[in-house]
Each structure stands twice: as structure tokens, then as C-alpha cells.
Point group: C2
């Protein structure tokens, strides 16, 4: 079982693999995505993944066979494992716990396509529904505290397979970055009686210097202090802390917005490597007045170097005002 270890100086948590350690020769000098003719995510190869957890299928076809539109399977090389009990202990000045959690892969299409933007809007909406369904199911396990939905596209953004997919990792503690966002938002709420994100949306729409697209229910902007060139955030205009409450017309609209922004990034930056991450409230929060779910899209065009690792500062060579101008839809 993987081990969660806390670094006492920084307070960082690290998931340390303990079962099969990567040796020096496992790290490629010129690594890239394996472009093999065989893809375990394609329709027809259902027996090459662990058995499915969920699939949206036509006409009640059998599990782990073809005929699906979106399919969720456990990650074959999970960062955290679902079997076992929560266990925390000290090792002198160090803290550690066992790596309880879940790690799932959302395969977004039965066809071997490489981008979410190749799906039609209805399929993108089903991917979002699938995110919601998995969060709702995993929340019922009381050992689990947080679920992070994210997508890695391109080798330098951490993808190892090109077939379009997302991931869901469930953790036994609230991740530090999420805890920090919630704490900062709470301080703002206590000081002003308002949601920081709602205020940010209002200021961005009013100043209109960094807005990429604004629809009835969503706004997309390049954040004021973007870490990366062409970083963009998607936020629901109506205050809502939990992504899994998304449904109906709003889900349809988000599918359109997400696909449009990704397509614009692909066109502007010639299919850049990128990550997107859904920031939602922890599992035990059913409604928060100060936290507001959002999606962060970060193209990976710049390297993180010693300065960033040593300070936590980022250097962004492209002002978000210019990114937004180029991405505006």
C-alpha cells in the first residue's frame, strides 16, 4: 500500500510508492507518450482494463463489453488504494498514514480520439455527468474526504496515454492547496460577508480586461495573477460550492463553454499540453457560503525552475490581459 508522508518543514504531503519502486533506469532520458497501435481505452479492448465501475451504454449492453459512450475504470497503477482502513502514526518527528483512497480513469470516448474537443456537445455533457455521478457515489464512503477531478493532456502535462480521458483521485485528507483556498475564502467571507469568488466574477465582468467568454450561467477569464501564460478559469456565475450539484441546462451550458475554451486554446497555441482541474468543496461540505467551485485550465508552456521551487512565486511572461485578448470567444 502507498504511504502518505508529511514533510514537517513545509507541511507538504507526499504519496510515496512502496510496492514497486521506480529504479534509475525507469526514468527515460527522452520520454514521450507511447504511440502504440494498441490502446487499452478503445472500444473492443474492455478486458485490458480493470473491470468497469460505471459506464453509460446503449440498450443495456453487458458491462465490460462494447457499446458504451463514457466508461470509468480503476487506474491500473493507482496512486492510492481503496482497500484497507484509515491508519495514521508517528515515526519520531515525522507523520505518516496509509494510502487509502481511490484512483479512477474516465474514458471519454470509445473512439481513439485525442481531445475532448473532438466529442460533440452531448458527449461532453455526458463526461461532466459522469464526473458528477462518481463524486456522489464516492462521497458515501466515510473514509474518503476529498475527490479531485483532473485531466492531463500531452506528455509534459503528465499524460501517458493519448486516448482522451480524465482522472479522479480521492484522498483521505483535504489536500493542502484546497484547504488553503477554503481558508482564504473563509477569511474574506468573515471580513466582508461576501463570497470572494462572486466578488471576483463581478470585478472581472465589470472591468472586462481578462474575460474570455461570458454566458448566462458561466464566466471564463484569465485570472489577475495567472501563474501560466493562457491560464483560464471557468466559474459558475451563481454561487455554488459543490460541482456535483451541476445538472440540467447548466450542465449543457458548461459542456459548451468547456469545449469552446479548450478548442480556442488548441487553435491559438497549436494543441498545447495542458491540465484542467476541478476545484470543488470537500465531501463533508454540502453547502458553503464562502467556497465556490471552479475549473482551472493551465496550458503547460513554461518550465518550473529553481526559483519557483524555492519561493512558491511564479514567473509569467504573458500578462493575462493579453492572453484573454487572444483567447476571447
Amino acid at each position: 500500500m502507498p504511504e502518505l508522508r508529511k514533510e514537517p518543514v513545509s507541511g507538504r504531503w507526499v504519496i510515496v510508492a512502496t510496492e514497486r519502486a521506480a529504479r534509475p533506469t525507469d526514468f527515460e532520458t527522452n520520454p514521450q507518450i507511447i504511440k502504440s497501435s494498441f490502446c487499452p481505452f478503445c472500444e473492443g479492448n474492455e478486458d485490458k482494463t480493470p473491470p468497469e465501475i460505471l459506464a453509460y451504454r446503449d440498450n443495456g449492453a453487458m458491462p465490460n463489453t462494447g457499446g458504451w459512450r463514457v466508461r470509468v475504470v480503476p487506474n491500473k497503477f493507482p496512486a492510492l488504494q481503496a482497500e484497507g482502513e484509515y491508519f495514521k502514526c508517528e515515526d519520531g518527528i515525522y507523520d505518516k498514514m496509509n494510502g487509502i483512497g481511490a484512483h479512477e480513469v474516465i474514458i471519454e470516448s470509445p473512439r481513439h480520439i485525442q481531445s475532448l474537443t473532438s466529442l460533440d456537445n452531448g458527449n461532453v455533457e455526458e463526461v461532466l455527468s459522469c464526473y458528477r455521478d462518481r463524486l456522489i457515489d464516492l462521497k458515501s464512503d466515510k473514509r474518503f474526504v476529498y475527490g479531485l477531478l483532473f485531466k492531463n493532456v500531452g506528455f509534459s502535462a503528465g499524460a501517458s496515454l493519448e486516448h482522451t480521458h480524465s482522472q479522479l483521485i480521492v484522498t483521505p485528507i483535504v489536500p493542502p492547496l484546497v484547504a488553503n483556498e477554503i481558508a482564504n475564502a473563509k477569511v474574506f467571507y468573515q471580513r466582508t460577508g461576501k463570497c470572494l469568488f462572486c466578488d471576483m466574477i463581478q470585478q472581472e465582468i465589470e472591468t472586462d480586461k481578462r474575460v474570455v467568454i461570458s454566458t448566462d450561467n458561466f464566466v471564463v477569464f484569465a485570472p489577475f495573477a495567472s501563474r501560466f501564460p493562457f491560464e483560464t478559469w471557468i466559474l459558475p456565475k451563481k454561487h455554488e460550492s459543490n460541482f456535483e450539484n451541476l445538472q440540467g441546462a447548466e450542465a449543457k451550458e458548461l459542456a459548451y463553454v468547456l469545449k469552446s475554451v479548450l478548442a480556442k486554446l488548441e487553435a491559438t497555441l497549436d494543441f498545447p499540453p495542458y491540465n484542467y482541474i476541478i476545484h470543488s468543496a470537500p465531501f463533508n461540505v454540502t453547502e458553503s457560503k464562502h467556497f465556490h467551485w471552479h475549473i482551472e485550465i493551465i496550458p503547460r508552456l513554461t518550465n518550473i525552475a529553481g526559483f519557483e521551487w524555492g519561493t512558491g512565486f511564479y514567473i509569467n511572461p504573458t500578462p493575462p490581459e493579453e492572453s484573454a485578448e487572444l483567447l476571447r470567444i
Copy 2:
């Protein structure tokens, strides 16, 4: 002038370039270090860098000519700029300040060599002396708050030139990661009356599971919660908060230790990309009982993906106990 902007949700600071924005075409699809026949850092090309700030020279040769052993010049493309006054303001819910600071390059050899390990021990010691001299000089400017010394080796670690060099960036605020380390160490000190780092050194030497090398005055170990495979930290055994107090026999010993560890990493991992970062106390601290300077060396063998960006957790596929066993000197 670059602008320092604070992201209100995370509390992150970002340095946003405002003068010459990088456009989409500036981001290479397959970037790498430029292997040109011309190198501005080589002896004889002194007029191709901005005028030098400091150099160690033989027999009093003229500045900005040959005959130097270590040379410090301003970075031609600085992240922060030394001219101007400190100025902070609000923009609605956002905070920003002008990018006052310094950005220097320490050229470690007049010869076109690509690794610090190609220098002899005396030269490495001079590089460390140079680090110290620059920190002491920059501390006297009251606008400056923190000086970060670091090294980027290899393209994916952020290097753009291969000629062996380090960098020094001086910031007008204490960087968040440093502030966080100091705060955690202070809490530990208040609770126990002891330095967290001194305790860590003691536990690592006693358990001896993660020690790479231990000399009279220094210990090198793979930290308990290493973020990266083969991450190693160098710490002085005697409590000391400020790197710039390093001198005499200890400086000589650190040169030997640093060079030995880097050489072992190069041999074990076939010249990996890496960063090292010196964590020292802020400029206004002359002596701290709870902070302890150290060097973090991080080989860059794994990609940072959506999970890490979304949580602040890291996934390390190589337990530090195995890294230390392979690196042991």
C-alpha cells in the same frame, strides 16, 4: 517594470512580465537548450553580457575582460528589476506591487563546461564564496527582503544555457514557501524549545535509513517525505540560520560535499536535469534559533500533472530509503 500580483484565492504571488509579452509563437513545441557555437558566458565574450557586478580575478586584471575564475553579471532578461522604489497598491479585490528586486547570474567557470562537478574543489569553494559575497552585499539595500540562490541544470529544469551557472533572485517580500518553512519551524520551536532541523538531523543520523553522506560538519539525506525520486538535502550539523555566515574550513567541506553528491547523482541517473536551491533566512534575520539553512537538490525525473497542481500533494514513485541506498557515498 515587471508587476508582482497576488492571487487572492490561493495567496500565491506571480511575477507578471509587462514590457515584452511572450506571444503564442514564442512557445516552442519541441524546445531545448540552444546548443550554439557561441556562448556569452565563456572567457573572451565578457562584452556580450551586461557589465559585471563581481568577479574573482588573477593579478588584478581589468573588469569585463578575461582572467576571471567566477564572474557575476546581471541577468540580461531579469525577472525583477533593481531600479525604482517599492510601491504597493490595490486594484479592487486584487493586490499588486512593482517588481523591485535583483536578478544576477553567477558564471562558475571561464571554460565552457556543463557541470559544477567538472570544477576542482577549490573552484567550487570559490563559487560558494561568491554566493556569500553577493548575499552580504545585497542585504545592505533596505528595499530588499530575501535572496534566493539556485541552479537550473538541463532544459526541463529550466536552464536555457548549458555553460555552468547559478542564479540569485532578490525579492521585495519574503517568498511564501520560505515564510511557510519559517512559520512551521517557529511553531516547533515554541512547542519543544528545539530546532526542527536539528531534530531531523539527529533522527536521520540515528536511524541511518536515508543518509547519503555524513561528514564532520554536514549531513546529506533523502528527506522522509521526498517530493521527487532522488531528492536530497544538505544541512550543516551545527545550528545556523544564515548561509552567508559560511566560511573557512566549513566552506571547504561544503564544496567537497556538494560536488560529491552532484557527481553521485550524475553517475546514478546519467546526468539528470536538476535544480538546487539554498534556503537561508531572510535579510533582516541575523540569527534565528528555529530556522536552519539548507540546500535542496531536486532531480527532475517525473512530471508535475493535474493531481499535483490541484492538491499540492506530490506522488513519488521511489521511496527515499531506496534513493539513499543508491546514492550513498
